[in-house]
Symmetry: C2
Subunit: 390 residues, 2 copies
């Protein structure tokens, strides 16, 4: 690998930034693959090809970029910018490192090493073994940010968990009668729908389904419907709930605790009629997981099971009890809070103090300082969105 | 007044921006005068003079800028940029419009018309009557923002009221034992001290003095000590309170309700010993104002009295009850909320729900939406600061 002058670096940064932008075209559609973008310049520095990985199963970014080059001769001595190290394995598509090596390019600039343990380092090495100059790490931070969820999933075996809520300026997420609909403004709600179209799954508990019977669909923006994960430890949610029977019900994942299943089975063994009644006309995915001491689904087991189902990112849209449980179990990676210019005076909190409060006293003498760091704050209409990460 | 080409305008904007920056040098020191800055360019567009109004009673910005010009001949045909319309009256200094008119400048660019009813329009007219080209309104919005408090005071006869508090992510300003010291971080506290050095007065109620015995001084930054306004309706705060006896006690304004004074007088008439005991060794300013139905100082009367004492801006650092009262009376112009990454679970709110809640039900059916608009959000260390205006 080579050292470049500072003017090279600024040119490299410029084109890698373009490749990162191209990669965004795949957001919501490539999971559990990472987002990847590619830009190819000829030896005179003119763009001759561009591409991105657009959809899971479709060609990779490098293949699309190579295919977009009109005059294949112009690839001789060209430079390719790729946001992720080219793969060396035959998956659903031929290996990109090979395709690049055979294309005639003289230099490959890579933002991020492939974190996948089966591949890591192989792509760059294969290119170098073909006499191609390789530069690693240009825009690495931006590339890590872009594939934050994917990297987390690869490294931890758990999906990236985003916990979001809306609240008033005085910290209430519902008024004293439980009404929460009108806290955040339409710009904020639109962003939440945007997020739904980008994450692999949204997650709620049975309390939310019982109380609101939500659709959890993507409505205010164009976008892809995510999986819907419903935590229903006892397995007693009504089959008529929207998430079980609307047009996206196949994408719903209904999670119950093992104890619930065995209780149901033994009841059904006694009374076949009961089996018929409890048999759900549900056509989605059923998961059963270990329960915790209180008989609830173990959240860590839930997340591990979701990761095994290729879910790399989950947005938790849960009520106060489940939100507090995720925090208590240290399973949250990012918190997004919308704050509206409202003072309710009284109402319900986004995070149940009873569940969370216990934790505080145990963990840091009641001070309650979360081990989170502030990332960004931004306004959406009259609301402000603040993002924290653990 | 003339119309300029777009390239003139961009040059004008550039130099007016410089003049606005110079004006900032006086912040905290010129009140109840406005902040004013001035830049003078010779006919070739070179800067030949700069000045600002630096301290109340000292020369105005135009006078300082004119005095800074080394070669007086270079003023012939020069252009002056002034952030506020030059004055025409003999106050503590000679009228600036006259000084400019006699200086030789050919053109005067002004950001903001003088809102002072005794002067308004006079400065520009006097300049024009001397054959000087005048342009009004360059960077007007920025100039209005810079002198927001001054303009509010001139227009309403009340000081500009900034209400600030710090809270946890779940909306508590003190834990369940009333501890509030460690909510905001040092960057936020530093900013509050910066604000103290810029506003004319800070204001608290007797509850805060009794609970915390605060100093309300400027400590974490270099800066000017503001007046300290203490609302003590009954007039019963201990003379030993820090605000009454420290080195800045002369700058303290002790506000009591009229009823308290008469109660004290009649008690003193009965027992001269009591008069001695209640006679305060206090060397600051005493104000008595009308009380409201509950016998508290009428906040509107307090603010009017402060405005008459040349206080153009007040930062309310009060506890939950007084903060709620200011909001209920629609006397707040700006809210600044610091939010720290903490979840307390339970504790005390920044705005007393009992005082504010009543108001909500009356005003908007309990929805609690404040008639405020979001202005900015910014991070200070791990805290975020959100600013709202009414």
């Amino acid at each position: 690998m080579t050292t470049s002058s500072s003017s090279d670096r600024s040119v490299d940064t410029q084109w890698m930034t373009r490749a990162l932008r191209l990669a965004e075209q795949g957001r919501g559609f490539v999971s559990p693959n990472p987002l990847v973008g590619c830009v190819i310049l000829d030896r005179d520095g003119e763009v001759i090809g561009e591409g991105a990985h657009l959809r899971f199963g479709d060609p990779h970014a490098e293949a699309n970029a190579l295919a977009s080059v009109q005059d294949q001769a112009s690839l001789q001595g060209a430079t390719a910018y790729v946001t992720l190290e080219p793969c060396t394995h035959h998956g659903k598509t031929p290996p990109c490192a090979t395709a690049l090596a055979q294309s005639g390019v003289a230099r490959v600039v890579i933002a991020l090493q492939d974190p996948n343990p089966h591949v890591s380092g192989g792509g760059a090495a294969r290119l170098q073994s073909q006499g191609i100059e390789v530069e690693l790490g240009v825009c690495r931070v931006e590339a890590e940010e872009q594939n934050r969820a994917f990297l987390h999933w690869i490294e931890t075996g758990l999906p990236y968990v985003q916990l979001k809520w809306a609240q008033t300026l005085d910290g209430f997420s519902a008024d004293h009668e439980g009404n929460s609909q009108w806290i955040s403004g339409k710009e904020s709600r639109r962003l939440v729908h945007q997020w739904r179209s980008e994450v692999d799954a949204v997650l709620v508990g049975s309390a939310t389904v019982l109380a609101d019977n939500p659709r959890l669909t993507v409505r205010h923006v164009e976008g892809r419907q995510p999986r819907r994960v419903i935590l229903d430890s006892k397995g007693t949610l009504p089959p008529t709930s929207q998430v079980f029977q609307d047009e996206f019900s196949e994408k719903t994942i209904w999670v119950t605790a093992k104890s619930a299943q065995s209780a149901q089975s033994s009841a059904a063994a006694v009374d076949p009629m009961l089996e018929l009644l409890t048999s759900h006309p549900f056509n989605g995915t059923r998961l059963t997981v270990e329960q915790d001491d209180q008989g609830h689904c173990s959240l860590r087991h839930v997340l591990r099971a979701l990761a095994e189902h290729d879910i790399t990112s989950v947005m938790v849209e849960a009520g106060p009890t489940l939100a507090a449980s995720f925090l208590r179990e240290n399973l949250v990676d990012q918190i997004d809070v919308f704050t509206a210019p409202i003072l309710f005076g009284k109402g319900m909190k986004a995070v149940d103090p009873a569940v969370w409060g216990m934790h505080l006293v145990e963990e840091d003498g009641g001070r309650g300082r979360l081990p989170i760091r502030f990332v960004t704050t931004e306004s959406f209409g009259q609301d402000i969105l603040t993002t924290y990460r653990f």
